[in-house]
Structure formats: structure tokens, C-alpha cells
């Protein structure tokens, strides 16, 4: 396999802070620490190093990416590396910017490394493999070793383990793996329960992410003047599912026009949710998204207007990360449309 390596002006031997504005330099061979990376991988060859100043990539991102992609378009590569960035914030963010762009454009595995406190982690961990790195450049060999080891696994098509075992920050991707020792889930859960009751330590198989609590938004002052929107994770969509929303592990949401509709007629709408028996909701879609009740209240004047669109996705198997993304995108639209409040139905 062939690989290309992105590093900053310091590791690229251009200079320190004084060279942080340096524009991309595309080498026709590996230089500096790229040679160390190359030496750690029998099955992957690092063919080129590209060097970009940390200020340039973060302050002139569009131009930088344009130049970088134009050069990468002329190259053949199977894996892309960046860093390791350790605690260097601009470098970590720079690696993240480039890694995300490369992953999206070329659909190849993208591997980088940085310390868990590097600001690049939170923003970019979903876009690429960010390995947990040390705080300083003294960890170069260790951090590079981790990146190289994983690349070797990819190159030799070895079986990949979940993120914590491989050593990178979880990307929010759920994947089913058969249990190595063949012990059934029912037995594993009993073992876990007995440990819990007995006060012994145990490890959950499904780590629930930490929640961040947000204060309640203020109540609306005058409901009779409000525009209210319906949002739902029930999967109720027009009968041909025009946006092809997935029935589980949804990666998108849809928005459908209900202007003038007094209800969601069966046959015109249905649910595509794979997490429950859809029969009842397909028979009466308002059971999932209560357009009829909302319309009744609107007519009575309890609130001023039912927003012309409802927003929907499927809630089963959908990751918190995607749900957050949908929430943000929908919130943006609602704010633009001056919607005052939301009734969100969940299944």
C-alpha cells in the first residue's frame, strides 16, 4: 500500500513559529519523520511528505485545502497520515482539517495522532482515526508506532478491534462483533449482574456516553401567538420515503410539507422505523406525529400556527453523534423560520 504523510513546518524542517505561515510544500519523497514512519511499516510505503504551516492551514483553510487537493489528485495513495500532533493545538486542528477533507474526498483510511486534550480531538475524532498520543514530541516514536501498527493491520487485512482496544478515540460508530470466546449474551449478562450484586468490578459492553445537561429553555410567553413545529424520531415519512431515510442507524433526516393537511393519512404516510412493529403507526400515522391534534389546537387558537414542515428521522440505532448533528441542523432551520417552540415525539 502507498501512503502520503502530512506534517507541519516544524517537523518538516522549515522553521518554528516564524515559519508557521508557510504555504504547502510538496516533496517528491518522504522527509524528516516521514522516514521513521516509513521504516515502521513493512507493508506500507510512504511515498511523499507534504509540509504546511500551522497558521496557514488554520487561517487560510480554503486556499490551503485547494492546493492540497489539487496535488493529491495527481497522486495514488491508499492511506493518509498526519502528525502526530501531541499537544500542539494549531497542528492538531490542522491535521484534523486535512484529515477530514482527505477522508471525504478520497475515501481512504486516514490516520493521525494527538493528545486527548488537543482541541483537534473533539472536533475531528469522528472524521478519521485519531490515535491517543503523548503530550510532547518526546513521544514521537510511541505515537508513530501506534499509527504504523494500525496501518499495518489495515494493509494486511487483520481483524480490527473496537476503538479503545486499537488505541484511537471512538468515532461514534457502532459495529457488531461476535464474542471471541463464544459465550452467549445471556450468560455474559448474568456474569455481569452477579458481579454487580457482589460488589465486584465489571465492565459494561455498551458504554453510555457522558451526558451534558442543558438548562431548560424559557417557556413561551404567549402560546396563542406562537409558531410550533413538530419534530420526531418515529420514522413517519411520505409513503415512498423520498429521501431514503434509513430504517435504523439513520444518517439523515427529512422535512415534509404539511401545509393545509389536517392529518397524516394512512397510505400517504407510513413509518419506516425498524425498531418496533410498524402496523399501528402505518394505519394511523398521527399516532407517531400528531398532526391532527396539533391542527385542532391551531384552529381553536391555542397557538397561532403549525409550522408548514415537520422534521423526522428514525431513532433506532442512530448514534448520539448523528442525533446531535440532526438536532443542530434542524435547530438552525427552525431559528431561521422563527419557530417559537417544538413538540418532539419519540418512539
Amino acid at each position: 500500500m502507498k501512503a502520503i504523510h502530512y506534517i507541519n513546518q516544524f517537523f518538516g524542517q522549515v522553521g518554528g513559529e516564524d515559519a508557521a505561515d508557510c504555504k504547502p510544500i510538496f516533496h517528491d519523497k518522504p522527509i524528516g519523520c516521514s522516514m521513521m514512519l516509513n521504516g515502521l511499516m513493512p507493508d506500507v510505503e510512504v511515498t511523499n511528505t507534504m509540509v504546511v504551516g500551522d497558521n496557514y492551514i488554520t487561517n487560510h483553510t480554503e486556499e490551503a485545502l485547494k492546493e492540497i487537493m489539487a496535488w493529491l489528485d495527481t497522486k495514488q495513495f491508499d492511506i493518509f497520515f498526519a502528525g502526530p500532533a501531541f499537544m500542539a493545538g494549531r497542528y492538531g486542528v490542522g491535521c484534523g482539517i486535512v484529515c477530514r477533507a482527505v477522508a471525504e474526498r478520497y475515501q481512504v483510511p486516514v490516520i493521525t495522532s494527538m493528545n486527548e486534550e488537543n482541541p483537534g480531538v473533539e472536533e475531528y475524532k469522528q472524521s478519521c482515526y485519531i490515535f491517543k498520543g503523548g503530550r510532547k514530541a518526546t513521544f514521537m516514536k510511541d505515537d508513530m508506532g501506534q499509527m504504523a501498527k494500525f496501518a499495518e493491520k489495515l494493509a494486511t487485512k487483520a481483524v480490527l478491534q473496537p476503538a479503545p482496544e486499537e488505541g484511537y478515540f471512538p468515532r461514534g460508530i457502532r459495529y457488531e462483533l461476535p464474542q471471541k470466546d463464544g459465550i452467549m449474551a445471556a450468560d455474559r449478562v448474568m456474569d455481569m449482574l452477579l458481579k454487580k450484586i457482589g460488589g465486584e468490578p465489571y465492565q459494561t459492553e455498551l458504554v453510555i456516553p457522558q451526558t451534558d445537561l442543558i438548562p431548560p429553555a424559557p417557556a413561551v410567553k404567549d402560546l396563542s401567538k406562537c409558531t410550533i413545529a413538530l419534530v420526531s424520531s418515529s420514522g413517519v415519512v411520505p409513503s415512498d420515503n423520498p429521501d431514503r431515510i434509513q430504517s435504523a442507524s439513520a444518517q439523515k433526516w427529512g422535512k415534509y410539507n404539511i401545509a393545509g393537511k389536517n392529518c397524516l393519512p394512512s397510505g400517504e404516510f407510513k413509518t419506516i422505523h425498524a425498531g418496533f412493529d410498524p402496523e399501528a403507526m402505518c394505519a394511523v400515522p398521527d399516532r407517531g406525529i400528531p398532526v391532527d391534534a396539533m391542527r385542532a389546537y391551531e384552529k381553536e387558537g391555542k397557538f397561532a400556527k403549525l409550522f408548514d414542515y415537520y422534521y423526522v428521522t428514525v431513532g433506532t440505532g442512530t448514534t448520539q453523534n448523528f442525533a446531535k448533528k440532526f438536532g443542530r441542523e434542524i435547530a438552525d432551520e427552525l431559528k431561521q423560520a422563527k419557530v417559537d417552540a417544538v413538540v418532539l415525539t419519540s418512539t
Binding site: 442543558i214 413561551v220 403507526m281 394511523v284 438536532g327 418532539l344
Partner: protein
């Protein structure tokens, strides 16, 4: 999704069956629903009874949007 919408300042009332899940993830205004396959309905009821149920619970949800709260609250339903 509800939290992201609420984070932007728009009040949200979450109508859901697994109230504990909603509480755990940090929902603020919550109204219980009938069940997962039919949150706002019940095929075992007559059409009139089902309509009364849906109308009532949606009404509770709308009232919740107009109610100031300082911490997460489950708004009770009568039918």
C-alpha cells in the same frame, strides 16, 4: 436532537415512552406517551377514545411549552 434544539434557545417538549431514558440524556420538558409502536394512540381503543387520548396528551405537551421550569419535569397526563 431535543437537546440541540433546546440549546439554541427554542423550548422543546419531548413526548416519549421511555421517560427514564429521556431523563438520563437530559431532557427538560417531558410528557409520557402510550407505547413505543403507538405513542399517541391505542389500537385497542375506539376511534373516539383514541382521539380523546391524543388530543389530551398533545394539549399537555403544549401547556408544558408555556410552563416555566427550573429543572427537568415530567408533565402528567390523565388519559
Amino acid at each position: 436532537m431535543a437537546k440541540e434544539i433546546e440549546r439554541s434557545g427554542i423550548p422543546v417538549v419531548v413526548m416519549c415512552n421511555l421517560i427514564d431514558v429521556a431523563k438520563t440524556v437530559g431532557s427538560n420538558r417531558m410528557v409520557p406517551t402510550v407505547s413505543v409502536p403507538y405513542p399517541l394512540g391505542d389500537p385497542t381503543l375506539t376511534k373516539e377514545e383514541e382521539w380523546a387520548l391524543r388530543y389530551h396528551r398533545v394539549g399537555v405537551a403544549l401547556d408544558a411549552l408555556a410552563t416555566d421550569i427550573s429543572e427537568p419535569k415530567v408533565f402528567p397526563v390523565k388519559i
